[in-house]
């Protein structure tokens, strides 16, 4: 009696063109530098508290898709540069960046297989949490009263994750569907 063949139209693993090419150093470091430049732009005073932290978004994106290239060390370095550019205490943003990177690296395997909309549901709390962490650390270190409007930057970042991650996915040649169909 012949054994039943598995259905050929549903392969268990992604095949051929579905596999994304590995991201190159140029793409990773270039996009990180671009996003850092975006945060350094002379934004208007009235909008400063609405501008999301593009550096953190790019960092988390590459933590998901290229964790060997952008890890805790990169988070620490970018955080220190942000601290200097914003003129706050050295290590404030570095600590927040490292914490966000740590959380994302813990669930990196799961996020890697998701497409941008599903990722955004899980990354948005981390982006919001980073702003809350910066404000809370500032309160703990006695920097004065926190301006809680700045939490809005985290919300904006969470909303912008879906279109931006989708865009970068297309630019780096990632397939538009999640490679493994959910059961």
């Amino acid at each position: 009696m012949p054994r039943a063949e598995p259905p050929a139209e549903k392969p268990l693993l992604p095949q051929g063109a579905e596999l994304a090419p590995p991201p190159t150093r140029l793409k990773v470091y270039g996009s990180l530098a671009l996003s850092l430049a975006a945060t350094l732009l002379p934004w208007s005073d009235d909008l400063h508290w609405l501008v999301p932290d593009f550096t953190l978004m790019a960092l988390l994106y590459w933590n998901i898709h290229a964790p060997r290239l952008a890890g805790l060390g990169m988070a620490f370095t970018l955080g220190l540069v942000t601290d200097v550019a914003r003129g706050v205490l050295m290590g404030l943003n570095a600590l927040a960046f490292c914490a966000a990177t740590f959380v994302i690296l813990l669930v990196q395997r799961r996020l890697e297989g998701f497409d941008a909309p599903r990722q955004s549901l899980q990354v948005a709390p981390v982006l919001l949490g980073k702003e809350a962490l910066v404000l809370t650390l500032g309160l703990m270190l006695g920097l004065g009263e926190a301006d809680w409007r700045w939490l809005a930057a985290g919300v904006v970042a969470g909303v912008l994750w879906m279109p931006l991650a989708w865009l970068v996915d297309r630019l780096t040649g990632r397939p538009s569907r999640p490679p493994v169909p959910l059961p």
């Binding site: 590995p22 350094l40 002379p42 988070a75 200097v84 570095a94 009263e145």
Partner: protein, 297 residues
């Protein structure tokens, strides 16, 4: 272009939580170092020097668009502005004459009272480049730095009154903490009766407050406050604030007063840093000797 490194087959590094712990400790160490001691100012100045050209380049397109939009002003706007400027010139001329008379009278009165003259200061005019993106403080960056001879601690004024103080100096820029910052304070004197007070910011954009005011202090709404000059930082006689209201003590033994700053703390683009004119070197005062035969207790 080299491909991305693959995950190693045998992991020879610390686990993720351990590495995270190391970085957290490093960050906390840096935070403590920067918050308690200014040990990192050299590192900060170096990194800022690297970032400064980049920020200048990024701000350039904005400046260009402003230049272009400034070129296309209409004839009507120019004519209206011309009329306004003429009126203002006449008014200023009248003011100037008044001021000359007042200055002469003031010099006379000062000579009469044998008071010391206003200590000399040299204003260094700078332009505000940006406000610091920090939810906790009220600070601005001006385009004058240590290359122009600035030092931390010097007062910053505008045409109307005191604005703040230089707190950090970088090679081409400097950070000015505004008077409205929560941690900023200035010793002042009530012009009406000479009462000495300390005005401090409260983190709001256009209000100052006098904390720990004596319950019976003679301070009324409408009083003008000038710097008293007794701290050695701010020269005497700079207008600072006008009292808006005084609040009687509640739950505490002290009253409190709310004032409005006179200088355009959040308004103008140009400010002047007051560079102290160096006083002639005074000979060191010899330490007083204890009188002979007086045993220390």
């Amino acid at each position: 272009m080299s491909p991305a490194p693959h995950a190693p087959l045998f992991v020879r590094e610390m686990g993720l939580p351990a590495r995270f712990g190391v970085y957290v400790l490093l960050c906390l160490f840096l935070l403590g170092l920067d918050a308690r001691y200014s040990a990192l100012s050299g590192v900060r100045a170096g990194l800022n020097t690297l970032l400064h050209p980049l920020q200048a380049v990024l701000a350039q397109p904005w400046a260009w668009t402003q230049d272009v939009s400034g070129f296309f002003v209409t004839h009507g706007e120019l004519a209206a502005e011309n009329v306004r400027l003429k009126e203002e010139r006449d008014r200023l001329r009248a003011d100037f004459l008044d001021r000359q008379a007042l200055a002469a009278e003031n010099a006379n009165l000062r000579d009469l009272l044998a008071l010391a003259h206003h200590p000399g200061v040299i204003p260094v005019v700078g332009e505000i480049r940006e406000t610091v993106a920090d939810p906790f403080s009220r600070k601005v960056i001006i385009d004058r730095g240590s290359a122009h001879g600035l030092e931390a601690g010097w007062p910053v004024v505008d045409a109307a009154g005191l604005v703040g103080q230089v707190t950090r100096v970088y090679p081409w820029t400097a950070e000015v903490t505004l008077l409205t910052d929560r941690d900023q304070a200035a010793p002042v004197q009530n012009m009406r009766n000479g009462l000495r007070l300390i005005v401090s910011g409260q983190g709001s954009d256009n209000l100052l407050e006098i904390r720990f005011l004596d319950m019976h202090a003679d301070l009324q709404p409408g009083d003008w406050l000038y710097t008293s000059g007794i701290d050695g930082v701010y020269p005497a006689g700079i207008p600072v604030a006008r009292v808006m209201q005084t609040e009687p003590p509640r739950h505490t033994p002290f009253a409190r007063a709310v004032c409005r700053p006179l200088g355009g703390v959040g308004n103008y683009r140009h400010v002047a840093v007051l560079k102290p004119r160096l006083p002639p070197q005074a000979p060191p005062v010899p330490a007083p000797r204890p009188p002979p035969g007086h045993a220390p207790r």
